[in-house]
């Protein structure tokens, strides 16, 4: 089981012939992921270490049965890459690209509404179900198969917490990096819903950060619908208002979007929130004991 990616995942990498696409596409394959095709306009007929390259996603899907796209296309072409993947009705689209204009993303997410494809990202590290499939740039070697589901707006912070879990012998069912952009595909609620239904997941770790109200809305969902326990961590307690902290979405505007408000909302929903990544990992370990 796990969520979003597993042994049945067949990946087409959009931008496979680029530097990043090649490096991570091959790394995902080395992990055991079925990377079956690449797409780069004008390069059909070529291959990247045996992975066939096509001009369009439609052709890649017809020839290889790909059901998931992994996008490493530069920001100015990335929105179109998502439309292309969606029009081939891929079940999952993972967009790693950072720096896509938010207007493009608002249009993309509007277009995807009601369509069968789930989008993860953009500006995200991707999705890994340890031991089954790795679609993105999360280092597989820090993960370990197990029963903790993890969803995060961040990349390296996710690695930090996964690493701390693995070092404690706590494995993961699936880790989802949903990305740090203000407008994105699947969010906390979508992931919590999937984890709640997944028999291989026993507990969920939610890693948030300043900006927006994704965490607050997740807290409402947890109170109303979530059956499994959730442990939280929020980054950015020291972030000053009005300053963008790296991620396009990580900015405190006025009094909204603060780490304090998010941690309080989660705690009010019965979520134990760690003040450091280490404490979050300890809370998970304690909850499973």
């Amino acid at each position: 089981m796990a969520i979003l990616v597993d042994e049945t995942t067949r990946v087409v990498v959009q931008g496979l012939t680029g530097r990043e696409g090649r490096f991570h596409g091959l790394r995902n394959r080395a992990y055991g992921t079925k990377v079956v095709a690449g797409v780069t306009p004008g390069k059909s007929g070529q291959n990247v270490e045996g992975i066939p390259v096509f001009d369009t996603v439609a052709e890649a899907v017809a020839e290889t049965g790909a059901n998931t796209s992994l996008i490493f296309v530069p920001p100015r072409f990335a929105a179109e890459a998502v439309y292309e993947a969606a029009d081939s009705e891929l079940r999952l689209i993972v967009c790693i690209t950072e720096g896509i204009p938010v207007r493009d993303m608002a249009q993309v997410t509007g277009y995807l509404r009601g369509k069968p494809s789930t989008l993860v990202g953009p500006n995200c590290p991707g999705v890994i179900s340890p031991g089954k499939s790795n679609v993105g740039i999360i280092p597989g070697e820090i993960c370990m198969a197990g029963r903790v589901g993890l969803v995060s707006r961040s990349g390296t912070l996710t690695y930090q917490i996964v690493h701390e879990l693995t070092q404690r012998g706590v494995g993961q069912s699936t880790c989802v990096g949903m990305g740090g952009d203000p407008v994105h595909g699947i969010g906390f609620i979508g992931c919590l819903e999937l984890f709640d239904q997944d028999p291989e997941t026993g507990l969920v770790v939610l890693i948030g950060e300043i900006g927006g109200d994704d965490e607050e809305r997740a807290a409402t969902f947890i109170v109303e619908r979530m059956r499994k326990p959730v442990v939280g961590y929020i980054a950015g307690f020291t972030a000053p208002p009005g300053k963008r902290m790296g991620h396009a979405g990580a900015i405190v505007t006025g009094s909204s979007g603060t780490a304090q408000a998010k941690a309080e909302a989660l705690e009010a929903a019965g979520v134990k929130v760690g003040r450091t990544p280490t404490e979050a990992a300890e809370l998970v370990e304690g909850a499973l004991a």
Binding site: T109, P139, S154, G155, T156, Q160, I207, G236, T278
Partner: protein, 379 residues
């Protein structure tokens, strides 16, 4: 990127949004000349990227060119709430009958835009929303369809009859400004009905999406008009994400979330972070070296914490970068280094072999933060 009022108004003018006559001045003498040309009675307004000008003394309504000159001189020399002021906008004083509010902004949780029109303006809109919510009308703007005519009619439908037509035209044009320039916020507060029946934009607040600036090179070039901390400028040139904070522990990390978490852990350890610095993914030795130089050039820094979790980034490369930087600058403070993830053993070995007197290796993020906090206090 937040534009100055006069820059926002230049975009407004291009799209035909009615404005009050005025010009921008960079000196008190220039402000005086503009006031003379406008007939003497003018508003002098500081140009800054923060709000609260009305209440905070950033707007002076004056009756003569001499007074305009004096107001401009004061604003340019004193600054505004700690922000440097390099220019003021001088505008003709108008006779205001009523004040409203109009804005279109990104609604991130809806993945759409939100247009808001308030029949009460000229004040803090959040306060109006709290105290008199019936004064506000909201419309969700689909990013694929844009702002539709019926939505405009509804949005201005609660304004006084004589203001509706002018306000509707302005709202539609605000949406053009937003869509054409990749803005995430276009706000007019106040939107004013003048005694002569005209509706005009008395203010302009425009925020452009940083990720879309490549589509708008002219707007991007306005960046040079904003005051910037010299250390921030240097970091930006090197492609680093840097934000100056007011503490004493310099921070370098990879990935925005991890850096934010590092700041928090340092504060929990009893010290204050001096900055946010994200070297991004796959940092080269050169990037690490520049980052350290940037941090060490900040005189308030008492210790440095380098917290790297290698994914794409390789810890051996990071370690080399730190050593390179230490050949270029002589640090006056201790540098705590925590390396984990890709090639961490190699990176730690490089640092151990160098045995540099200013490098303090630590095993975990928590220990490293505690050590950096102690060193900052002892320094």
């Amino acid at each position: 990127m937040d534009l100055y009022e006069h820059q926002g108004k230049e975009l407004f003018a291009k799209h035909g949004i009615p404005l009050v006559e005025g010009s921008v001045a960079e000196s008190a003498a220039e402000a005086r000349r503009i006031a003379e040309r406008l007939g003497g009675k003018v508003a002098v307004k500081v140009q800054v990227q923060i709000g609260g000008r009305g209440k905070g003394g950033g707007i002076a309504l004056v009756g003569s060119p001499e007074e305009a000159e004096a107001a401009a001189a004061r604003m340019l020399s004193e600054g505004f709430h700690g922000t440097k002021v390099t220019r003021v906008l001088v505008e003709r004083l108008v006779d205001i009958a009523e004040q409203f509010y109009a804005a279109i902004s990104l609604d991130r949780s809806a993945g759409a835009y939100l247009a808001i029109v308030s029949s009460e303006g000229g004040m803090d809109i959040e306060e109006v929303a709290r105290e008199r919510p019936e004064a506000l009308r909201r419309v969700r703007v689909d990013p694929l369809l844009g702002l539709l005519a019926y939505q405009v009619r509804y949005a201005v439908g609660h304004l006084p009859g004589e203001a509706r037509e002018g306000s509707a035209a302005i709202l539609a044009k605000m949406h053009e400004v937003l869509a054409v320039n990749d803005a995430t916020l276009v706000e007019i507060n106040p939107l004013a009905l003048l005694a002569d029946g005209q509706v005009v934009a008395l203010d302009a607040k425009v925020t452009i999406d940083d990720n879309a600036l490549w589509r708008h090179p002219k707007i991007e070039s306005l960046r040079s008009t904003f005051p910037i901390d010299p250390v921030e400028a240097r970091a930006r040139e090197a492609g680093l994400q840097y934000v100056k904070l007011d503490g004493e522990v310099g921070i370098i990390g990879n990935g925005a979330g991890l850096v934010m978490a590092t700041l928090d852990v340092v504060e929990l350890a009893g010290a204050k972070p001096a900055n946010f610095l994200d070297v991004g993914g796959g940092a080269s030795a050169e990037v690490m070296a520049v980052s350290l130089e940037v941090i060490l050039s900040d005189p308030s820094v008492r210790s440095v914490l380098v917290n790297i979790f290698g994914g794409i980034t390789r810890c051996d490369v990071v370690a080399q970068g730190i050593l390179e930087a230490l050949q270029r600058v002589t640090p006056g403070v201790q540098i705590v280094v925590r390396l984990d993830g890709t090639n961490a053993p190699e990176g730690r070995k490089i640092l151990a072999q160098a045995n540099h007197p200013h490098i303090v290796p630590e095993e975990t993020m928590l220990e490293a933060a505690q050590r950096a906090a102690e060193l900052a206090k002892a320094a």
